[in-house]
Structures are given as C-alpha cells and as structure tokens.
C-alpha cells in the first residue's frame, strides 16, 4: 500500500470514528445548553445503545431496523428515567453536585451493564452486506457510509428540531435565558427532561452504528465520553456545528496518528491537540459566547 492510499485509509477510519465523537459531543451540548452541566454519563448512553442492540438482534433475533428503534427507545427512557430519578428531585442543586451525580450515574450504568452482559466484547453485523469500495488503493466500507449518513441525518433532524418546532425553540430559549423562558410559560424542568431524553437517544444511535466496526463492551463508554467531551470543548461548548467539525478533527488526528506513529499513543495525541487548541483559543473553534459561559 502506498503512503497516499494508506493516508486515505486512515482518513476513512477517522471520518467514521469522528462522526461518533461528534454525536457524543452533540449529546453533551444538548444537556449543557439546558442545564449548564456536563453529563458524564453520556458515554454510557452510547455503550447501552450498542449493547441493547446486540441483545435484541443477536439474541432475540429481531430484525435490524426494529432492533434499532427499540434500542434507541429503551435508552431514551433510561436517559429520561435518570433525569427524573436523580436530577429532578433536587431543589436548587449546584452545578458541581449535578456533575457528581452524573458520575455516579455513569458508574451505575457501567456496573449494571457488566452485570447483564459480563466483560465480553460483542459485535454486530454491518448494516448492509455489500463489499468495500476501492478508492485509490484504500477501502471504504459500506458501514462507514452508514455512519456518516446517519450522523448527517441526526444533525439535520436537530437543526430542524431547534429551529422549526416550538419545543425545540423552547429548549433553545431555556439555554439562552431560563428566567425569561419561565416567564413566557415554558416549563424549564420539563425541558431538562427532554434534553436528557434527546441526548440519550443520540448517544444510543451513535453506539448502535459504531458497534459493527469498533465492537462494544460494558467499558467502552468512558473513552467515548472523553473523546466526545474533547470534541464538544474543541468545537466550543454548546455549538452543534462546532461539535461535528471538532468530532471529525479529533477522529482524523487519532486515526492518522495511530496509523503513522503508534496506536498506543492515539488517545494521548488527540487529547494533546485538544489542550493545544484550548491554550490558543480557549473558547473552542466555534464557540465565543458559550466558552465564556463555561469559564464563569
């Protein structure tokens, strides 16, 4: 394989993994915008999405499409239940308290997953059975196209939701000014519930589409959350376009450095780049307002 086709190969991989980081980052953003907190259980939603899909299709033998929607539905309910059970009952909690609760949630979900599925790594068949396309010596698998396509669809749905539906606008209004949102009659706490449900759903989608290429086990959530968080911060916390672009940047850096340097260093290199960008432009690439809000 020539250097250039090797590079192209890493780029394909980077795009696939970067789409996932971008989607995890979108999940962080949605909850951050509604509550001002970083939901550290975000990675667990991704893991649960993959694991539940595996059980539904491999064990219960449900068809792919049905399994997909049921998995996303279950994880959405888990996200909503987490909000109602652990976040909602608190009166005027501090941001720090909430973040610690999400850490507890993450540990709980991970423990639960280990209890149910054990420590094995599972796999899913790719969504379509076609063989990889050969482009300039590199192989582009159909699953990569699925991942990219679904990510774009999720992004488009979000843009539509936040700009053209009244609930989406209300969620945006809560992010901008909670007092004003309450004054026009928006139930702010209900929007927080919606934000957890929506983040969980997006996380589950990410987990399902990545499993055929990256496999899944109970412990995958943490690293995905770290990378997704890196993408959210790099993109400018709260900015959805920033999240997607930053997801690609981190995915690409990671897969290229894994290929050309060593896969042992790939996590470190991706995070190093994040730190570097944050030194140079602390608000992230797309963030201006949001970054300032975060530092406050």
């Amino acid at each position: 394989m020539s250097i250039s086709s090797q590079l192209l190969q890493y780029i394909f991989t980077g795009i696939a993994i970067g789409s996932i980081y971008g989607m995890v980052a979108l999940g962080f953003n949605i909850i951050y915008n509604a509550t001002g907190i970083i939901n550290l259980a975000q990675g667990e939603f991704v893991m649960l999405g993959g694991m539940i899909m595996i059980s539904l299709t491999n064990v219960l033998k449900l068809p792919m499409v049905l399994g997909f929607f049921i998995s996303v539905g279950i994880v959405t309910l888990i996200g909503a239940g987490f909000e109602r059970g652990a976040i909602h009952p608190l009166k005027n909690p501090s941001v720090l308290t909430l973040i610690i609760i999400t850490i507890a949630g993450s540990i709980l979900f991970k423990g639960g997953a280990m209890f149910i599925w054990g420590k094995q790594t599972y796999s899913l068949p790719p969504f379509s059975s076609g063989s990889s396309v050969r482009i300039m010596g590199a192989y582009l698998s159909p699953q990569t196209l699925w991942i990219l396509g679904i990510m774009v669809a999720v992004m488009a749905a979000l843009v539509f939701f936040f700009n053209f539906t009244i609930i989406g606008k209300a969620m945006k209004a809560c992010a901008v000014n909670k007092t004003a949102a309450a004054l026009v009659g928006i139930n702010v706490k209900l929007m927080v519930l919606f934000s957890f449900a929506l983040s969980a759903a997006i996380g589950a989608v990410a987990g399902i589409i990545i499993t055929p290429v990256a496999l899944m086990d109970y412990d995958r959530g943490t690293m995905l959350a770290i990378k997704g968080f890196a993408a959210a911060v790099l993109g400018g916390l709260g900015s959805n376009i920033g999240a997607v672009i930053a997801g690609f940047i981190i995915g690409l850096i990671e897969s290229v450095s894994a290929g050309f340097i060593s896969s042992g260093y790939k996590d470190a290199i991706a995070l190093l780049v994040l730190l570097l960008v944050l030194f140079l432009k602390p608000s992230g690439i797309m963030g201006s307002l949001e970054g300032k809000k975060f530092k406050k």
Binding site: I166, K169, K172, A173, V176, T179, A180, A182, L183, G185
Partner: protein, 244 residues
Amino acid sequence: MLKVRNLKSFYGYLQALRGVSIHVEEGEIVALIGANGAGKTTLLNSIAGIISSKKGQILFKDKDITHFPPQQIVKQGISLVPEGRQLFTPLSVMDNLILGAYQRYKRKNKDNIEADLDRVFHFFPILKERRKQLAGTLSGGEQQMLAIARALMSKPKLLLLDEPSMGLAPKVVKEIFRIILELQKEGTTIFLVEQNAKMALGIANRGYVIETGRIVIQGSSQELLGNKEIRRAYLGRGYKKVWE
C-alpha cells in the same frame, strides 16, 4: 382581580418584602412607585412566580396562586414584562414573539396566533419591519417594545410591567405609555412599576408607594400627585436622584 395579602418574600435569609398588601381591580392601571431597592421588582417577581420563597397570599380571580410555578401563572392570564427586558437575544424578533405564545402553541391554538401577531404589530409597527432581526441587535426602545409585545402574545388579562421607561429617551417613553393606555382601553388590566412617578401616576387610576419592603402610602393618582411627601421624595428632583 389581583389581591396580594401580607406578602413576605425572601432572598435566602434576607427579607425583601415585609408584609405587602395590594389589590388591582379589573380594567385599572395601578402604579407602584418607590426608590431603588424598595422591593418593587421583588413584588412583581413574587407575583409572577419567579421568587418562590414567600409567605402570605396571592389571589388572582379568587384563586390562590401563591405557590404556582411561573408557567402556571402565565396560564392563569398574568404576564410579566421583566426588569431589564430579558429577551432571548440570540433569537429573532419573530421567535421571541412566538415563544411569547408558547402556552397556547402547546394547546394547539395556532390559528389565533396569527391574529395576535397582527395585533402586536399594530401596536408596534417597527417590530414587523424588524421581525427577522435578532432581538439582541434592536435598539433599547425597540427591545422594550419587543418585551411588551412578547408578554402580550400570551393574551394576559393582567399585565405586570417593571420599569418600562428605564433607560429610554423621553419620546420613546411617551410612546410606550401611550400604548399602555391603549391596552387598558382594549381591556387589559395593568400593574405598573415605575421610578418615574410623574409619568406613572399620570396614566394610572391608583397608586401605591413602597419603601423598604412596605407599602407606606396608597390612594388615587390625584391624591398621590397632591401628597406633599410624595412631591418631595418622588416628584421634586430628577427621578434618578431620588432617595427615601
């Protein structure tokens, strides 16, 4: 229509209202005047449900709404134009207005919303021109108009206004007060908080004076405008320099 009885509101341990009782009858404009820090905003925010730490009683159309959350209070027909306007600045003028009608959107009354948009555009034609602009890029006067228009979109029976004249040029203030009068004629009841006592009492039927969390004087606008103490404290000097 609105009865507040012996209301005490707290910020943590700090008590900002020390037993306030007021009432507003249907069709009235009632003014509340007082110096900085007297508790005017606290009273409005308590009625609107933004301040939840309170004792006493708030009745609206004989219903006890003291401990209703803000969204329930909007649903009852009370809308607050808050101090400092509190617009959704990164959203468009149109989106701000649509969100003002959020409660009714939810109940699928979408058809009436067009009519209400026409109504607020009739009051504030400038907002129609600016409807695609981001709220944060409007001038101060336009922002105040948008804040009022947004509150009107919920079709309130009772409109609470917190210092609508603040920071605006006299000409704009006049325009806003003219619209407040017009709203009254159309049947909206108005409770108006102002430091600009002269203008407020000029359009109000009755008024209250609040000092350090207590109502100290009340009466018809004529009485208040004739009251010596009020003339000395609130009408004599420029209102920016007023002390208790």
